[in-house]
Amino acid sequence: MRPATPMPELEDERTPVVQIRDLWTQFGSFVVHRGLDLDVMHGEVVSLVGGSGSGKTTLMRQVLALETPTRGEVKVFGIPVHSSSAATLKKIRKRWGVLFQEGALYSALSVYDNIALPLRELRAFDEDFIRDVVMLKLDMVDIERRHAVKMPADLSGGMVKRIALARALALEPELVFLDEPTAGLDPDRSESFVSLVHSLHRKLQLTVVMITHDLDTLVSLSDRIAVLVEGRVLANAPLNVVSKLDHPFVRNYFQGERGKRALSVAPPPRGTP
C-alpha cells in the first residue's frame, strides 16, 4: 500500500487551465505558429477555428505533449508540459481526457475494457468497483449496458464517439480536449452528441478545448472562440464579438451562407462563467 501522504495542494481557479506563451512552430522552412498566445480559463469551452493547415491540430498535439514546439511555453494547470519531468507529466495526464477524431478505441479490447483500462492502470480500485464505474460512465454517455461486451469494430460511428468520450471521462478529468467531436456523424447524432457534451460540461464543470469545423457545434457549445490566422490567435472572444471581426478569414467563415444560417439560430451569448 502507498503511504497516505497529506496533499499540500492549493485550488486556485484563477490561473488559466491552459496557458500558451509566444509559441513558434516550424516544419522545415514552413512556419505554422508565429508567437502564438492563448489562455483557457477554468470552466470555459474554447473552440479553435482556422483554415486547413493553420495548425489547430498541431497546437492541440503540442498542448497534449505529443509534439514539441520549436520555441515557446505551454502550461497546463500552471505546469509547463514540455520541460517537466516524466513524473509531473504523468500527473497532468491523469487530469485531462482526450477525444480523438476517430475515437481511437483500442480495437483489441471490448467496450468495457476500453473504459476500464485507465482505471485499472491506477491500481487503486478493485475489479468490482471498476465495474460499477464503467457502468456509470456508460450511463453518462447514454450507451446501453448490453453494448459493454461488444468490440469497437462492431460499433457505429456515433457509438464509437460516445464510448471514446466515456473513456476520456474515466479518470474524472478537469480538462477535456475534443478533436472534431461531430465529424462523421449525421446531423441528428451530432445534435445529440453536442447536447451530451453540453450537459456534461454543465454538470461536471469541465474545461473544454475543442477543434471543430462544424459551425452548428461551434455555435451551440463555445463560450469563446479562438481564431487561428497567420500563425497567431487573431481573437479569443465570445461568438458575437468574433463573428463581427473585420478579417477576410472571419468574413468568409461566419458571413458566408453557411455561417449566416448557423448564426441565425445562435443562442444569446452565455458569457463566461
Binding site: M7, D12, H42, S107, A124, K137, E144, R145, V241
Partner: protein, 385 residues
C-alpha cells in the same frame, strides 16, 4: 495583433487548502466526511477509505454529514454510495452542488444484457466453431478458384486485355527482389549439407557420392521447398497485408463499384507472377546451393568444383530438374492463392489484419509442404537412375 477582447477575469474564490479524505465517526452513530473525495485524492487513499467504510456497522442508523467534503466526483460519490449499500440513508446532509452525483447514482439505467451462456454450452460452442469456419474458408477458396478460372479463360480469348503490367511489376517484386536473400540462404544450406554428408561418406570411403546426394537432394527437393518457404514468408505475407489494407481503406470496394473485377486486377497478376517467378527463383537458389556444396566438398573431400560440375549431369537425370522447376510453379500458385484468399477475407479492422497475415503465412507454408509430400509419393519412381 493584440486580442480585440481581453479574457475576462472571472470572480473565482480565493485559493483553498485541499485536505485528504477523512472519516470522522461521532458518538451517536454520526459519520462526518471531510476533505477531497475525488479521484486525485482517492488514488492513494481508496483502499484504506473503503476498508474503513466497510467496518462501519451496516444496521446502525447513521447520520451522514457530507457537507465537509471539499471536492467530490463520481468516483468519490460511488465509494460513498457503495458504503450506503446503494440506497440513500434517511439522515444525510449533502452540499447542493454535490447532489447531482448521487442523483446519477440513484437512477441507474436498466441492464438489458443477455444472460451469460452456461459454461458447458459455451465450451461446446467454442469447440464446434471450427466446423463452420473451415466450411466458410473452403467455400470462399472455391469461389476464388472458380472466379480465377473464368477470368483466365476470358483473358485467353482477349490476351491484349490481360493485366500484363501488373504481372510484370509482381514478377519484379516477388522474384527479382527476392534473389539476394534466397541466394544467401541457399549458399549456406548447400555448405551445411555438404559438410554433414561428406563426414558420413568419408567413413565408408564413398566420397564421390557427394555429387549424387547434393544433386538429387537440392535439385529435386530442397531447392524448391526452401525457396517456396522463403517466398511464402516474404511475399505471401506482403500480399495478404496489401489486400487487407485495401479492405480496411475501402479500396477493394472502390474497385468493385467501378466494375473492375478484383480477381483480374489483384489476384490473377499475383498468381501468374508467382507461377513464373518461383521456378526461376528455384533454379537460382538451387544453383547457388550446389555451388556452395561444391566449395565445401573441395574443402572436405578434395573434389574440385570443376570435377563436381562435370559429374553432376551424369549422376542426376535431367528429369529431376524439370520436376524441381515444376514443383516451383505449383508452390508459387499455391502461395499466391493462399495469400490472396486470406487477404480478401480480412475484416476492416486492425486486429483482423494481424491475425489474417499470420494465418496466411502459416497456411501457405503448410500447403507447400503437403503438396511436396503428395508430389514425392506420386513421382517416387521418376528420375532415379
Amino acid at each position: 495583433m493584440p486580442d480585440p477582447v481581453a479574457p475576462a477575469t472571472s470572480a473565482a474564490p480565493a485559493p483553498v487548502r485541499i485536505l485528504p479524505p477523512e472519516i470522522h465517526v461521532g458518538d451517536a452513530g454520526s459519520v462526518r466526511l471531510t476533505g477531497a473525495w475525488d479521484i486525485r485524492a482517492l488514488e492513494t487513499h481508496a483502499a484504506d477509505i473503503q476498508r474503513r467504510l466497510a467496518k462501519l456497522p451496516a444496521d446502525a442508523a447513521h447520520v451522514w454529514d457530507l457537507t465537509g467534503i471539499q471536492r467530490l466526483d463520481h468516483i468519490g460519490a460511488l465509494i460513498i454510495w457503495r458504503a450506503w449499500r446503494k440506497t440513500r440513508p434517511q439522515n444525510s446532509r449533502i452540499r447542493a452542488e454535490h447532489e447531482l452525483f448521487f442523483t446519477t447514482l440513484a437512477t441507474p439505467k436498466p441492464d438489458t444484457s443477455e444472460p451469460p451462456v452456461p459454461w458447458l454450452l459455451r465450451t461446446l460452442i467454442t469447440a464446434g466453431a471450427w466446423i463452420p469456419l473451415v466450411a466458410s474458408h473452403g467455400r470462399s477458396f472455391l469461389v476464388l478458384l472458380g472466379q480465377l478460372v473464368i477470368d483466365t479463360l476470358a483473358m485467353l480469348r482477349h490476351p491484349g486485355l490481360g493485366p500484363w503490367r501488373e504481372v510484370s511489376a509482381n514478377i519484379y517484386r516477388v522474384g527479382a527482389q527476392a534473389m539476394p536473400i534466397t541466394a544467401a540462404v541457399g549458399f549456406l544450406i548447400g555448405i551445411v549439407l555438404s559438410y554433414l554428408s561428406s563426414e558420413q561418406l568419408r567413413t565408408f570411403g564413398a566420397g564421390s557420392f557427394i555429387v549424387n546426394i547434393l544433386g538429387i537432394g537440392l535439385i529435386r527437393e530442397l531447392g524448391p521447398v526452401l525457396c517456396a518457404v522463403l517466398v511464402a514468408g516474404r511475399s505471401g505475407s506482403a500480399i495478404t497485408a496489401q489486400l487487407g489494407v485495401m479492405r480496411v481503406t475501402e479500396e477493394l470496394d472502390a474497385l468493385s463499384v467501378m466494375g473492375i473485377p478484383q480477381t483480374v486486377r489483384l489476384v490473377l497478376p499475383k498468381v501468374i507472377a508467382l507461377a513464373i517467378a518461383l521456378p526461376l527463383l528455384t533454379l537460382w537458389t538451387t544453383s547457388i546451393a550446389l555451388f556452395g556444396g561444391a566449395l565445401a566438398a573441395k574443402a572436405q573431400l578434395d573434389i574440385s568444383v570443376l570435377q563436381f560440375m562435370t559429374d553432376l549431369p551424369g549422376v542426376v537425370p535431367a528429369v529431376n530438374l524439370s520436376l524441381g522447376l515444376g514443383k516451383g510453379a505449383v508452390f508459387g500458385v499455391l502461395i499466391a492463392l493462399t495469400a490472396c484468399h486470406f487477404g480478401l477475407r480480412i475484416q476492416p479492422n486492425t486486429e483482423s489484419l494481424g491475425t489474417g497475415t499470420t494465418s496466411s503465412v502459416v497456411s501457405s507454408i503448410t500447403a507447400v509442404i503437403v503438396a511436396d509430400a503428395i508430389i514425392a509419393v506420386a513421382f517416387n519412381n521418376v528420375g532415379f537412375s
